[in-house]
């Protein structure tokens, strides 16, 4: 049995509580608050204590989905990526980059947000990128 504790940051509100995810053989068994972080000082809220539950929910998406005959169906990464790339190329060629819009995410990492806006601005020559900060 392999037990590990991984120090990370809570994904819920903007407090930024640090936490330890306890894993046993590659599965998270519980969430513990970081006692050394000056922000949360060994405490978490009810959402933080139970954060591993949604991570391991059976409802998680595990495969790319593509709409065929009006129904989303599991497909391979290759099929989903090729379909997406060709649709994006078609729209850009036919209507120009300003006809695309990109919604970035306050739930994703800095690295992901950076790449996403770069993809929008460089790939399509448009500044049509926003996220839920104003919502």
């Amino acid at each position: 049995m392999k037990i590990e504790y991984v120090r990370t940051t809570c994904p819920y509100c903007g407090c930024g509580c640090e936490m330890l995810l306890e894993t046993v053989d590659g599965r998270i068994t519980q969430t513990l608050p970081s006692k050394t972080n000056p922000m949360n000082q060994g405490k978490l809220c009810i959402k933080g204590w139970n954060v591993h539950e949604f991570v391991q929910s059976p409802q998680r998406l595990t495969m790319p989905l593509l709409k065929k005959d009006g129904v989303l169906q599991e497909v391979s990464w290759d099929e989903a990526l090729n379909f997406t790339a060709s649709r994006l190329q078609e729209i850009k060629a036919k209507h120009g980059g300003d006809s695309m819009a990109f919604l970035s995410s306050a739930k994703c990492s800095n690295e992901e947000n950076y790449l996403f806006q770069k993809f929008c601005r460089v790939g399509f020559g448009t500044n049509n990128v926003d996220h839920c900060a104003r919502l």
Partner: protein
């Protein structure tokens, strides 16, 4: 936030306005309780009798959307009693004369008439805030989600500068941000008018810099905001959309309209960890990784940059979102080959002056607050210490403007929205958490006993809420947490979503919708009132 979270504990006066702190930011609320125990005065301005009012020295219930009048009234008293910080105003600010002129129109009597707050309370708040040594302001979406949200925020900045309570420990103007990385998403340029670190796209020098860095040609035109994108889908100017980890079909105002707009898209791609209402509409859905399944950084509400670290593998064939973006981009014809999030972060530090001194190696020792301009810089917990970003702090002379939608004969009650303690936003994460779902699996409205009596409603009965946009059916809880004439509802439950009802009226400057005020009608619904619901309500 201009200041750090731990500083709240040492404040002498905490003014909380439009923040249900114990529900939305529990670990910040615990700092308020500690400050209170050390003798701080706690002032809460909130239309609802929220939990944090239990430690408040003063709680006022301003009418929905009347914040500018309330703050102007408070500032009027501060001036008339000579409690303003004359030296700070002289040395650090400009525009004071205009503000002084406008504030003459807001004597306590006038402010009281608009806000419903007594003149005595307005005076008490003014004296407590201005005469305490360390006074801090905490606010959240109760301030921003209005058609005059920008005015509300500027009014709080006015109050802080007028009393010289900024740029010092345990003071400042402190927005409590609702999402873990809303700060970071803004810092990284996930906005239509700025590149990373708020470098505006219309400035030629900025544009040239990024064109060189990214080896490309960039647009000088400010892009669409989220609500403009939705309109664009409907009028045909936007043809396709890529959505990363967001659920606008649940979270935007007037969701019926938003869903219709998304359905109009010629192409819609969604990257998410669950099949959200938005993903259900998409043409293609990519399974992303949760925070526990990837490396990276978040920037919290106090501007601290924090590491997230991979603990487990994503389920099935799901991939980290950064990898998905690289995969799509590369196949599209714009090759993106980053070995790891750390490599991406190195590029971020290169193009983002406020992150220039940050690296994974440094963050290993704990979070660092930006601005951190160089490798030997310790980070900046307190902003505006010696000067404001623009030099002098600018006062804005602002007049009160009423909300876009007021109660009338057809829609006699005002609806306001917010969160409940076990849930989060549209519930994509919390409804998939058994413990949290067991705490609360069904939404409800809070309605005052007077209004409930008018409609003939008792706690646990079902009712129909109707606005100009749509209608929802949900349970009623009769309580004086809300004032007469006001009901409260959350946006956590997709089957009875407040955003079917909310008003998409926007602030003219920042385009935030008016989630916090719209006019509705409450109707009793006898036929669907089951014994089970009654039992649940009584439990």
């Amino acid at each position: 936030m201009t200041n750090s979270i731990p500083e709240i504990e040492d404040a002498d006066c905490i003014f909380i306005i439009g923040s249900n702190t114990s529900v939305a930011h529990p670990l910040i609320a615990s700092r308020i309780y500690k400050a209170k125990a050390k003798g701080a005065k706690v002032i809460v301005a909130d239309p609802r009798r929220i939990h944090v009012t239990s430690v408040a020295d003063i709680h006022v219930r301003q009418k929905l959307g009347s914040d500018v009048a309330l703050i102007n009234g408070i500032m009027n008293v501060i001036l008339s009693k000579g409690l303003h910080d004359k030296a700070f105003i002289e040395e650090r600010t400009e525009g004071f004369e205009k503000l002084e002129q406008t504030l003459k129109n807001y004597p306590p009597e006038k402010a009281s008439e608009i806000t419903g707050v007594s003149t005595e309370d307005i005076e008490k708040i003014a004296i407590a805030f201005a005469s305490s040594d360390k006074s801090t302001i905490l606010y959240a979406m109760g301030i921003t989600q209005h058609s005059h949200g920008v005015d509300n925020v500027k009014s709080l900045a006015n109050l802080s500068m007028l009393t010289g309570k900024i740029g010092k420990p345990s003071c400042g103007v402190n927005p409590l941000r609702g999402q873990n990385n809303v700060q970071g998403a803004c810092d990284m340029g996930g906005l239509p008018n700025v590149y990373p670190a708020y470098q505006v796209v219309t400035d030629e020098n900025n544009r040239k810099k990024f064109e060189q860095l990214w080896n490309t040609q960039l647009s000088s035109k400010v892009g669409f905001t989220i609500m403009e994108m939705m309109h664009g889908l409907e009028d045909g100017s936007i043809k396709g959309m890529v959505i990363l980890g967001e659920n606008p079909a649940g979270s935007d105002p007037d969701v019926k309209h938003v869903k219709h707009a998304l359905e109009e898209a010629e192409f819609l791609a969604v990257i998410d960890i669950f099949l959200t209402d938005t993903a259900k509409i998409a043409d293609v859905v990519f399974p992303g990784a949760s925070f526990a399944e990837k490396d990276g950084t978040f920037s919290n509400t106090e501007r601290n940059v924090l590491r997230i670290r991979k603990a487990v593998n994503p389920p099935g064939e799901a991939r980290p979102d950064w990898q998905i973006i690289c995969d799509i981009s590369t196949r599209f014809g714009l090759p993106m080959t980053y070995e790891s999030p750390e490599k991406i972060f190195e590029e971020i530090a290169l193009v983002t002056p406020s992150y220039a001194g940050l690296s994974y190696a440094r963050l290993e020792n704990g979070p660092i607050p930006w601005p951190c301009p160089s490798k030997d810089h310790p980070g900046t917990p307190i902003l505006h210490k010696d000067r404001f970003t623009r030099g002098r702090g600018l006062f804005h002379a602002l007049e009160y403007r009423p909300p876009e939608e007021l109660a009338d004969e057809e829609f006699p009650i005002l609806l306001t929205t917010g969160r409940f303690f076990p849930h989060y936003h549209t519930g994509t994460m919390t409804h998939n958490s058994i413990t949290l779902e067991n705490e609360m699996s069904e939404g409800y409205i809070e309605i005052h006993p007077y209004d409930a009596k008018d409609v003939g409603l008792t706690s646990g009965e079902n009712c129909k809420i109707v606005s100009r946009r749509g209608e929802v059916i949900t349970k009623a809880v009769v309580t004086d947490i809300v004032e007469p004439g006001t009901i409260f509802m959350s946006f956590h439950f997709m089957e009875a979503n407040a955003n079917v009802l909310t008003n998409p009226a926007l602030d003219p400057i920042c385009k935030i919708p008016e989630y916090k005020v719209c006019a509705v009608r409450v109707e009793k619904l006898e036929e669907t009132n089951t014994p089970e619901i009654k039992a649940a309500a009584n439990a």
